[in-house]
């Protein structure tokens, strides 16, 4: 899910505090951004044959090092709608029996792969802004013989109790939020002590122009 983003990396050209304050100041745009994010990624899911400005589907997954065997095994719809920016499984080291959160679960490919790792003794919980994407993810999981418990929700308010997750995955999602600090605080909250995150995302070394920040289409895409 490639998108422009505010980087908050100290030592770069954008001081941390300035970026955070700018992001917080954009909070009123959030509802507009939410609608645009839903529209954009619904389009990827509904019309994966389209060409977008970012790579998606099997081509993208192979580019980021997904095992071709995973892509052959997963439902075609989940693979075709993949819109990640990397491979969070590469360093996730998911163990059998673990509870996995897939934040921004989309059409379900990452959740399905995680469910193969956790096995029947574990659980995969997806969270997505778009309830219809949750239905797709759950249908794709069922088609692959596994289960994803997908919940409609925002990454800034993850609909899970404290300390309920062993590992959180996210792939190209956090950059879409104006409140990245809040998202990371939420991830910290839902993780059990000793829990971990494995995320892939887009960052920028420079402050984005105000015209980009204020444009929901540019932010979402």
């Amino acid at each position: 899910m490639p998108a422009v983003a505010l980087e908050m990396n100290p030592g770069k050209e954008v001081p941390l505090a300035d970026s955070v304050q700018l992001a917080d100041a954009q909070a009123p745009l959030e509802s507009t951004i939410k609608s645009e994010v839903i529209r954009m990624y619904q389009e990827v899911a509904d019309r994966p044959d389209q060409e977008f400005h970012f790579y998606h589907g099997r081509e993208a997954a192979l580019m980021y090092g997904y095992d071709p065997a995973w892509l052959d095994r997963a439902p075609a719809g989940a693979v075709a709608s993949f819109a990640g920016v990397g491979n969070p499984h590469e360093r996730a080291d998911i163990q059998p029996g673990e509870t996995v959160l897939d934040l921004g679960s989309g059409a379900g490919l990452d959740g399905i792969i995680a469910s193969w790792r956790t096995g029947p003794g574990g659980a995969v919980i997806g969270v997505d802004l778009n309830p219809s994407m949750c239905l797709k993810a759950q249908a794709h999981a069922a088609a692959s013989g596994t289960t994803i418990d997908c919940r409609e929700g925002r990454m800034e308010d993850i609909p899970l109790p404290d300390a309920s997750v062993d590992i959180a995955l996210s792939n190209g999602v956090i950059n879409l939020s104006f409140r990245k600090r809040r998202v990371l605080q939420e991830l910290f909250r839902v993780l059990r002590p000793g829990g971990r995150i494995s995320i892939t995302d887009i960052v920028s070394a420079k402050q984005l122009s105000q015209s980009i920040v204020n444009d929901p289409k540019l932010w979402a895409s």
Binding site: P2, V4, A5, E7, M8, N9, P10, K12, L16, V20, E51, F52, H53, F54, Y55, M63, Y64, V85, G86, N87, P88, E90, R91, A92, G172, I174, K180, R181, L184, Q185, L187, F188, L191, R192, P193, G194, G195, R196, I197, S198, I199, T200, D201, I202, V203, S204, A205, K206, L208
Partner: protein, 47 residues
């Protein structure tokens, strides 16, 4: 992002650039490069 993770309480924060990431459209890739946009993978742990 690295600092935000530490600020949230995470430890053992590690990051690496996603090799091969790029935008499909040349115009988008050029704009992204002008802002230093890259894809990264990050891992961290809750103590």
């Amino acid at each position: 992002m690295f600092a935000l993770l530490e600020g949230a309480g995470f430890t053992k924060v590690k990051s690496a650039v996603v090799p091969g990431f790029r935008f499909r459209k040349g115009s988008t890739q050029s704009a992204a490069e002008s802002f230093g946009v890259k894809a990264v993978m990050m891992t961290a742990r809750k103590p």
